[in-house]
Amino acid sequence: MSAAAPLRYPGINLGSAHPETEEKSGELLFGFWVFLMSDAIIFGVLFATYAIMLHARAGGPGPQKLYDIKSAFMETLALLSSSFTYGMASVALKHGKRQRALIGWLFATLCLGGLFLRLEVGDFLSMFQQGAGPDRSGYLSAFFALVPLHGLHVTSGMIWMCALIGQIRRYGVDREVKLGLLRLGLFWHFLDIVWVVIFSFIYLGGLA
């Protein structure tokens, strides 16, 4: 395997060490990539909505009052670290001999994803307590359309991860589990990219 081996699909390529995945991986991962790109369009349009609604406050509170930089920072670190631990899980899947390393890294990813959600829900609750729910102003409707949608994606990614851990326990690391882990990897890293745009333009842009 030379350094210049072509990549057959987005994400880590399992390569010839996993011959059973070779046949289906190309089309499955391309199809999932198409889904992710369409999801990117949804997020992009919600960002545009947020941008034009930013000043439609209807006399309600604005970003400076509602956002907490410390909490946004902790959420960012949690999700970024979970992306890294998922990367380690991918490396363990590709090169590891034992299941324990793979399951360990997946559990670490789950814990960090859970921490992220716990912090994010805390943010939303504190906004609700200040009377800043989605019904307060156009700006807050746009905020609550975008940011919790990302949180919902993270939640579904975690459910998917639990299902895959269950499949590993039940069936071992077979072909379907490997292909599932490759797709979940794309999904999880994609969500981190969406979060980069959220923390930059919504949280930091709002607090700057």
């Binding site: 391309f30 545009a48 034009i52 090169h95 890293h189």
Partner: protein
């Protein structure tokens, strides 16, 4: 995590390269996170420079994530994947820039005294 022994001759070096890739990606992403958060926290730049710095850090971090986490490496990549990224980028540009352009312009026409879409440009009942 022992690298797959036997089989591939270059198994170990590929293992090392991929491990290093994730570590590089993580390190760079942390750096590109700390920088804009620090700039905002301690407000060391004038407003315009601050927005520019946040935007540049975000763009670079997105590229870092694509390169090291999603393994998008243009010369080696399947060309369909790259076409799809370009096409999505183009659509996003049209939709996002078009939405902001048209609706900002509309807000200006509705209320000539306001540069942007302020709540004060809405009728009293909607405030």
């Amino acid at each position: 995590m022992s690298p797959a022994a036997g089989g591939e001759q270059g198994g170990r070096s590929e293992y090392g390269r991929e491990l290093r890739g994730y570590l590089w990606g993580y390190g760079l992403a942390i750096l590109l996170t700390l920088l804009p958060f620090g700039l905002v926290k301690w407000a060391v730049l004038p407003e315009y420079g601050l927005y520019l710095a946040i935007g540049v850090c975000a763009l670079v971090q997105v590229i870092v994530h694509f390169r090291f986490f999603l393994h998008i490496d243009p010369p080696r990549q399947n060309v369909d994947d790259l076409h799809l990224i370009l096409f999505t980028g183009l659509l996003l540009f049209f939709m996002v820039a078009g939405t902001i352009w048209i609706l900002t312009s509309l807000a200006e026409r509705v209320s000539p005294s306001q540069g942007t879409f302020h709540a004060s440009s809405l009728p009293e009942t909607q405030r």
